[in-house]
């Protein structure tokens, strides 16, 4: 749920709405916000599943330190969605395990 009016922070500033793809489905995002923010606003809590037991994981620290929120973004695995800003047309996929190793 977006916090559109806030007693201290004021109204949500005007921001361009863009679209990104999450597991093949289009969702709305605000230009410049982290991917994880758009997911949270869309009610998506599960970012990935662990390697061994396929347990769900989502945001824990929200500032790029714990790596619990990583997903595969534009084909690149292990992207920290809490500190990666959305770009129009980005593809975001729920990651299973450690994903694909990147080419050197």
């Amino acid at each position: 749920m977006r916090v559109t009016h806030h007693p201290i922070l004021g109204d949500l500033p005007d921001s361009r709405e863009i679209k990104i793809q999450v597991d093949g489905k289009e969702i709305a995002a605000l230009a410049g916000e982290p991917i994880a923010a758009a997911l949270a606003a869309a009610g998506i809590s599960v970012h990935r599943y662990t390697s061994e037991k396929s347990e769900p994981r989502g945001v824990f620290c929200a500032i790029g330190q714990c790596t619990d929120c990583v997903m595969t973004v534009n084909g690149v695995s292990n992207v920290r969605t809490c500190i990666t800003p959305v770009i129009p047309g980005m593809t975001v996929e729920t990651q299973h395990g450690v994903g694909q190793r990147r080419d050197p």
Binding site: H5, H6, P7, I8
Partner: protein, 171 residues
């Protein structure tokens, strides 16, 4: 025996009576006066500068509990929005025959409007009586800490320190 702010999260009668920020009952009967509910030694003193009548003293070290000089306090309430702890309130026992007025700091949306009937709560957040809003001050110097004044039956003046938030759920 009540356990006090470190256990309940709100000040006990004993803590208030011992607190130098609390006016006497006699002074309260004379007209509007503030009550400062800040019984712990924490490094903080904006209240001292906030009062144009120099009724509040903290001094050095800044961990001293604020002291209210009830002879200097005129009940203007300018200190209310300046307290970072939202721990200052204004009590006016002389508002009318049957009703007292209490001013509280309020930082939620929506703000109440004039003449609105709201539910007044005590320090534990328990609803205690109905209240009527008679003033909402939210000017630039408040820096987004609105001051809401409500009237309540006299008997509740020593208890009422808040209102049920208008937007969300309560308790």
């Amino acid at each position: 025996m009540s356990k006090g702010v470190a256990v309940n999260g709100f000040v006990s009668e004993e803590e208030l009576e011992r607190s130098p920020g609390y006016p006497s009952k006699e002074r309260m009967q004379q007209g509007p006066v503030v009550v400062i509910e800040c019984p712990q030694e924490i490094p903080c003193n904006p209240c001292e500068e906030a009062c144009p009548h120099h009724a509040i003293t903290v001094g050095e070290p800044i961990t001293n509990c604020p002291r209210l000089d009830e002879t200097k306090c005129v009940g203007c309430g300018l200190c209310i929005p300046r307290c970072p702890g939202l721990a200052i309130f204004l009590i006016d026992l002389t508002h009318s025959d049957k009703r007292a007025a209490v001013s509280i700091p309020y930082e939620y949306l929506p703000l109440p409007h004039m003449n609105q009937k709201v539910t007044a709560v005590n320090r534990a957040g328990e609803p205690v009586c109905e209240a009527e809003v008679i003033k909402v001050a939210d000017t630039k110097p408040n820096d987004r800490t609105a001051v809401v004044t409500v009237t309540i039956p006299n008997d509740y003046a020593q208890e009422v320190r808040g209102i049920v938030r208008l937007g969300g759920h309560h308790g």
